[in-house]
């Protein structure tokens, strides 16, 4: 079969909602897009462990400490599923780590914002995991089988994280004035970066159209962002907190909330490395990797010795 026919057959499969599996033929671009997107997603899970992990030793109660430990552990697990899904496309975890460490691969920019109060743990669970879910629910139907299946497992845990985060915010919002202020302050800092998580407007997103045709993506960045805003407003009102957007207004005609303009300069600044924590996040990952080298080597050497001994017996 020549390439044109292969391509046609491939697209026909996608149009018929038949999942693409690792051994199936796929165009290079499809493979590259998926590797880029899945590894970026995996990196986000493990870099995301840092801002939250930051608060484990300071969690304000034993119950909260366990909740946070369990959440961060889940995120590490998500990283593991996603790296495995990306590996089915012919890349290795070491290669992907290398790309993260050298800055070639990106991760979600939201994790370049610092967690400075306990309320940030609530806000991240509620808003950041919440925004991630919007995207991930869509990805459970992605055309690439291993990715879609990883997403099904991940989504279940993410909705638990979101509930846990919202519940942290609820306790703060209904707590003392100091606690309420802590919650408000955190909402102010995380609201706009959460909206930026959906990526640039569709008109400016260079990968969107092709990803839609390949059914890696099924909704546009703007559609997902709107759905997130619409879902969040009632939650903010229920908390009794103020939304840090004076332009937010219900639009009867559209049946959606209108919201203020996103500061895309800030978005690109943080994406390109200019956020408060960009450098420290990568530094922390590189340090862990470098300091763990002797451990990984020892584990490998020991496994080899074992295999040799087993072969002799």
């Amino acid at each position: 079969m020549d390439d044109v026919k292969k391509l046609e057959a491939f697209q026909a499969k996608i149009d018929a909602e038949i999942k693409i599996e690792p051994k199936d033929w796929m165009p290079d671009g499809y493979r590259k897009t998926l590797i880029r997107q899945i590894s970026q997603h995996a990196h986000s899970e493990i870099v995301g462990m840092l801002p939250e992990g930051n608060w484990i030793t300071r969690a304000p109660s034993l119950k909260r400490k366990m909740g946070l430990l369990a959440k961060v552990q889940d995120e590490a697990g998500h990283g593991l599923y996603l790296y495995s899904a990306a590996e089915t496309l012919g890349t290795s975890r070491d290669e992907m780590f290398d790309q993260l460490h050298t800055g070639k691969a990106k991760y979600s920019s939201i994790f370049n914002y610092p967690t400075v109060s306990w309320a940030d743990i609530g806000a991240i669970g509620w808003l950041v995991d919440g925004a991630a879910i919007m995207n991930q629910v869509m990805l459970t139907r992605a055309s690439y089988g291993p990715y879609a299946r990883a997403m099904v497992r991940i989504c279940k845990e993410e909705s638990f994280h979101q509930r846990q985060g919202y519940e942290i915010m609820m306790v703060l919002a209904k707590g003392t004035p100091e606690q309420k202020q802590m919650a408000q302050d955190s909402l102010n800092r995380f609201w706009w970066p959460s909206l930026m998580m959906f990526g640039p407007s569709d008109a400016e997103s260079k990968h969107s159209a092709q990803s839609m045709a390949w059914k890696i993506k099924r909704k546009s960045n703007d559609e997902l962002r709107q759905a997130f805003v619409d879902a969040s407003i009632a939650q903010i009102e229920y908390l009794g907190l103020e939304l840090p957007d004076p332009e937010l207004k219900w639009n009867e005609e559209r049946g959606h909330y209108d919201f203020g303009a996103i500061d895309w300069n800030e978005f690109w600044k943080v994406v390109k490395g200019g956020g408060v924590c960009n450098k420290s996040r990568i530094k922390a990952r590189k340090k862990a990797w470098a300091e763990g080298e002797w451990v990984r080597e020892a584990a490998m050497a020991h496994a080899e010795k074992r295999a040799e001994r087993a072969a002799k017996n």
């Binding site: 030793t57 366990m66 430990l69 002797w294």
Partner: protein
Amino acid sequence: MNKQDALFEYLLRIADNALILGHRISEWCGHGPTLETDIGMTNIALDYIGHARNLYQYAVEIEGKNRTEDDLAYSRDTTAFKNLLLVEQPNEDFAYTIVRQFIFDSFNYHFFDALQSSSDERLVGIAKKSIKEIAYHYRWSAEWIIRLGDGTTESHKKIQEALDEMWMYSGECFNADAIDNQLLEAGIGVDLAAVKSKFDTRVSDILKQATLTLPTEEWMQEGGKQGNHTEHFGFILTELQWMQRAYPDMEW
């Protein structure tokens, strides 16, 4: 000491070990040598905090002063904590962390195993609930000792050095004081001498597989069980208790 007070102290010691070691291991979260060890260590930290909570909840009932598990974790100062010196030692690197874990698990598993035959039903319940997880820790740290000892020349050297340095904290696990003796006689507590002999067998078996040498430390360090801690301890509390100290009497 009356039996109730002695039991309260006894529970604190076991719970504080779990809380403080859980705290130390949780410091690794996000910084482990592989994603798998990161997950493993976070899981172990989670187990310990869970054990600490079960024990604190029982301790405050025994005490009967309307305190909560969080009061015990967040409102006591250094000398009121009764954990072993071993568990408060810093992570340093993966070798130290694994050695600390191995010494503690080799003690803790046999301790909890024996606790399952206590005459105190609540303690038996807690021990039975925790023993599966502790058995997993016991395997996990021993496997790492073997891997690192019988791995590369570098890993062998690192783990032997860590073992030599940490060994002085192993003796305290088996130091029976008046409270241990009182509860042992009452059929509630564990016979530490019996735990020690199981510990010795286990440790020498694993070290042999790991091609490591049992340290011959002359001086053992002790005192944590009576509230005399090392300099590291205050810094643990500084982090652990900060929120509760800065914002007292609030719900979280």
